[in-house]
Symmetry: C2
Subunit: 308 residues, 2 copies
């Protein structure tokens, strides 16, 4: 059997997924806390030890490893990270670093975590597409774009920062320093703030003492006026932004993921409704689907990416 | 010597460019009227004859031809055209069609004319980039996108239709059937209409009996209030749209071409001014340049594309 690893390095945890290549089956997943000290070295030391443990446990050697893929929470360009505040990394060639503790025959690939998730989600479809756009809706709004089967890293590795597309005329300043960002209407904070704002105007069954995105969208499902207004605003701006990307890139599919997407089909249906309004030409036929891999998006995508 | 052909098929004329590969020098350019009858056959017949004429004239044979590239005025997907109203073509495999009158060793490539122009413009830079966005501003506003060195054709060959990005809240219906399109503020018609509209409010040195885009932008250069207001609006919306594409795709360069771009440096400078306002993160450093190949964009791009 041949194996490949998908490793998702986050600011808090590192997830290591061991996959059997033939049918892309997850053999084992382990999670460790991200070391806090000397992260330029300690992170790779810990990962190296874990890989050896897993090899030992499942009875295989380096010879049986095809590749190791990494998802990193910052821009990555051709395997190189200029700066990663979440990991206190700067100017680090991640591919070279990983290769220093791995035999030469092992393929090492690296990309930004949202880009990797986009890649993995696309390959988790029944038929992977050549052109896919992935949204991850959470505290932040991000994404990844696949064109001609490849991740769009762009000039500096910042490709796919779709949460900061300007989609409305606003005055509030976003974390990025600008105004009118998609994240400012579709991120978790925006959703909760808008629901609260509406609570001064409408009565609702939402429990505002324990407000969550889930409670707002559950309310929408039950015809609650505030729930529906919030859902409509999120869906409208996702649709507007996807229509802009669709007419520019003509993707095969648009995949919606992240915590906010746990709202499920009601979110997709509303996005599609607004998308029909905004979409140009034949892009109106582009399908929307919910992301499937959830919290494993990073390890699945990184492992898949070693098979490119 | 080895040669390659770049052929730009338009609704009115067909331009055929013969290039010597080694230093990519244009050897000869001929232009013929696009045949009006039986266009599925007659266009290729005419091109075939012209290629043979040029071979004869310059004393080389099919053996000396590397490739033939075509730029077509409609969506093209993997060499296939579903429908091309400008040429009365439908369901035509352009690559196969061209190969039917060419020896097997000759490489045939085809893409949409704006995509081809984007490819050619990028390769006409001192250093071609992996990621480039090209705008063509004319009666229509279109463009082409290069990602990872490749043309973005997308799902149906409609990639790069950036003139129909929705960039403002409008009520007037665009030719595409929607509202708020970039073309509605940056196309030739929009420019002339806006100048005329402003003439009811401001006095100006512009000769409105003979209004052209050039006269409006020349006036802007001379501090004419109407000229400047029109220029500012065009620059603002180009900048807004490029900022959206920039944060999504992180391109190396943005190239501005088409008739409207003959305004030259004053247009680029104004776009850059607004882009600094709209641009997110490090995309603020992305350079803007004017397109260089002008009316030869199609033949140059198509010939370059055979060398991919």
């Amino acid at each position: 059997m041949i194996y490949t690893f998908g490793i998702d390095i986050g600011g808090t945890n590192i997830k290591i997924g061991l996959f059997e290549i033939y049918d892309f089956k997850l053999v084992e997943k382990v999670e460790i806390s991200t070391p806090r000290e000397h992260q330029m070295y300690s992170i790779f030391d810990e990962i190296s030890k874990k890989i050896e443990n897993m090899m030992h446990k499942h009875g295989f050697s380096y010879n049986d490893i095809h590749g190791v893929g990494f998802a990193i929470p910052c821009p990555v360009k051709d395997g190189y990270v200029e700066t990663c505040p979440n990991l206190s990394w700067s100017k680090i060639d991640v591919v070279r670093k990983a290769k220093s503790f791995l035999p030469d025959h092992i393929k090492v690939v690296v990309s930004n975590d949202a880009n990797i998730a986009a890649y993995g989600e696309n390959y988790s479809l029944d038929t992977p597409f050549q052109n896919a756009i992935f949204y991850t809706l959470g505290t932040g709004v991000g994404g990844g774009i696949i064109v001609n089967g490849q991740i769009v890293e762009g000039r500096t590795g910042s490709g796919g920062e779709i949460g900061h597309m300007q989609v409305f005329e606003g005055t509030d300043i976003c974390g990025c320093g600008k105004t009118g960002c998609l994240e400012q209407v579709c991120g978790t904070k925006a959703i909760l703030n808008y629901a609260t704002e509406l609570s001064h105007k409408y009565s609702s069954n939402i429990d505002f003492s324990n407000l969550t995105v889930k409670s707002v969208f559950d309310a929408a499902q039950n015809d609650d006026i505030i729930g529906q207004l919030v859902l409509n605003r999120v869906a409208k701006y996702i649709a507007l932004s996807t229509s802009i990307l669709a007419v520019s890139l003509d993707p095969d599919i648009i995949i919606i993921g992240g915590g906010v997407a746990r709202a499920g089909e009601i979110l997709i249906k509303n996005i599609e409704k607004y998308f029909k309004h905004y979409a140009r030409f034949g892009t109106i036929d582009i399908p929307f689907v919910l992301a499937k891999t959830g919290n494993d998006a990073g390890i699945i995508g990184a492992a898949r990416y070693t098979l490119q």
